[in-house]
């Protein structure tokens, strides 16, 4: 029971907004000590795990390409493209992106999009361009949120994704034999529900932005800028 101290530290640390890196270190130390590990053992276990999980940080290699393309006007071009679309709103754009993200993730293509690959250079600037300036922060956050939601409620429809294989392996340990397909079909109802719920929220988001625009400009909105 004492090992749960690490969870208490994590929750308290995040709530009080301490530097998360220090909170993690404190939690690892306390948990390890509570489990009777020596400091050197804890450090070794942490070091081994850090080395084994380097794949998590590989995604940063896209930064030089993305940053270079931004220098040559990628974000500006994404904004200009939205300006030429008639009737483009944050909600409509993001609903389209969510559908694309769910469908590609369902085909196992989880890494073709993401915060660094698509959201920062393309989707966020597009959403920002379709939103009034005072809501640009929210529009960008919503772009990142939509990317996550599309991914999470799309990827499990694919047979060979990590979580499906984890479930299959774990249930086998209990003597329950399942094929990946039997698991992945049950991701479909939730995928549809997620599309409907988040889609509806995006439509309401659009309405709120429209009210914001009509409230801030007492008169017709100037079309040219």
């Amino acid at each position: 029971m004492l090992v749960l101290i690490g969870i208490v530290i994590i929750v308290a640390g995040f709530v009080l907004r301490f530097n998360p890196l220090l909170v993690i270190a404190a939690s690892a130390l306390a948990t390890g000590l509570a489990a009777g590990m020596s400091p050197v053992e804890i450090l070794s276990a942490f070091g081994k795990a850090f080395n084994d999980s380097r794949y998590v940080s590989i995604i940063w290699i896209v930064l030089p390409v993305i940053a270079l393309l931004e220098r040559f006007g990628l974000q500006e071009r994404a904004r200009a493209l939205v300006a030429t679309m008639r009737g483009a709103t944050v909600g409509r754009l993001l609903i389209g992106y969510m559908l694309l993200r769910q469908l590609t993730a369902a085909l196992g293509l989880v890494s073709i999009a993401g915060p660094a690959q698509t959201v920062r250079p393309l989707v966020a600037p597009m959403a920002q361009a379709a939103a009034p300036p005072e809501a640009s922060e929210e529009a960008r956050a919503m772009a990142a949120a939509t990317d996550n939601i599309g991914l999470f409620f799309g990827e499990d429809m694919f047979l060979a994704i990590g979580s499906i294989l984890l479930m299959k392996g774990l249930l086998e340990g209990y003597g329950i034999m399942l094929e990946p397909l039997q698991l992945s079909v049950w991701a479909i109802p939730s995928a549809i529900a997620a599309f409907l719920i988040h889609g509806l929220r995006l439509i309401f988001f659009d309405r709120r932005l429209r009210r914001m625009v009509s409230a801030s400009s007492a008169g017709p909105v100037e079309a040219s800028e």
Binding site: M1, F14, F46, N51, A124, A144, W186
Partner: protein, 313 residues
Amino acid sequence: MITLAFCYWVAGIMFAIFAIITAFDSSNAKRWTSAMFWALLATSFLAGDYLGDLGNGLLVLGLLGIAGTGQLGKGAQPGASEADKRAQAAMRGNRIFLPALIIPAAALIGTLAFKHWPTIADPKQATLIALAFGVLIALAACFAWLRPGHATPFRDGHRLMEQVGWAAILPQMLASLGAVFAAAGVGQAVGAVIGDAIPHGSLLGAVIVYGLGMALFTIVMGNAFAAFPVMAGAIGVPILIHQQGGDPAVIAAIGMLAGFCGTLMTPMAANFNLVPAALLELKDRYGVIRMQIGTAVPMLIVNIAFIYWFGFR
């Protein structure tokens, strides 16, 4: 055969270049400690397999010592001006999207190709290896077409990396904490606590505890993969499947998705929730989570209802 080691080389070389750029950046008041941070990260990627477990632990302590005490600074070198970017955008039109699409296209084609010819690259890591190739091809294409200075992509990428700052290693640190939790038996301890919370005899009660437990434990651990074995072992298999005769496929698959609802609500899932906030330069570190809660809570209710309806037909 090409393995993940190839990706680690690419990343290691990039971080080494970032370390050198930082060391020469006189606009960064903390340039030496900052350069040391990126150099340590480069060392991890290039030589982590030769350092031993304790060596890697000491390397992590070094990263923590710099970033945890606010010694990771950033430079103040200006990037391209807005007017400049607009002029460039006007000049090239929509063709600027093409190099950006090389990376996802290469990831797609490479993944399929490596799965088809498993002798070329490790099929288990096909997507990440293909992604690394996509980056190198896109970089080469950019050099050929846009003709930037040799260091320009790395200077610009470095500026973006500085924007992300210590959040860059947060996902990896959390994954490592998960490993320490596993070694210390935190999962079993939580399972024991939750096992006591199940109302006896009530099927709906057990389904709710299972779904909520998946979400809550994921919020704490930042990862539904860590929550699933615990909740399946505590409730899913013994009570929902064996005792109540539920469909194992539904209980596992939708239970995992209930966990994903937790992922959307926790700063512990840093790579999904905090890193994008840093990359998008949001003022609120929790801005992305705030946008997700409105979808995550109804989805959690829907998933629990689905387990109840579809699992016990």
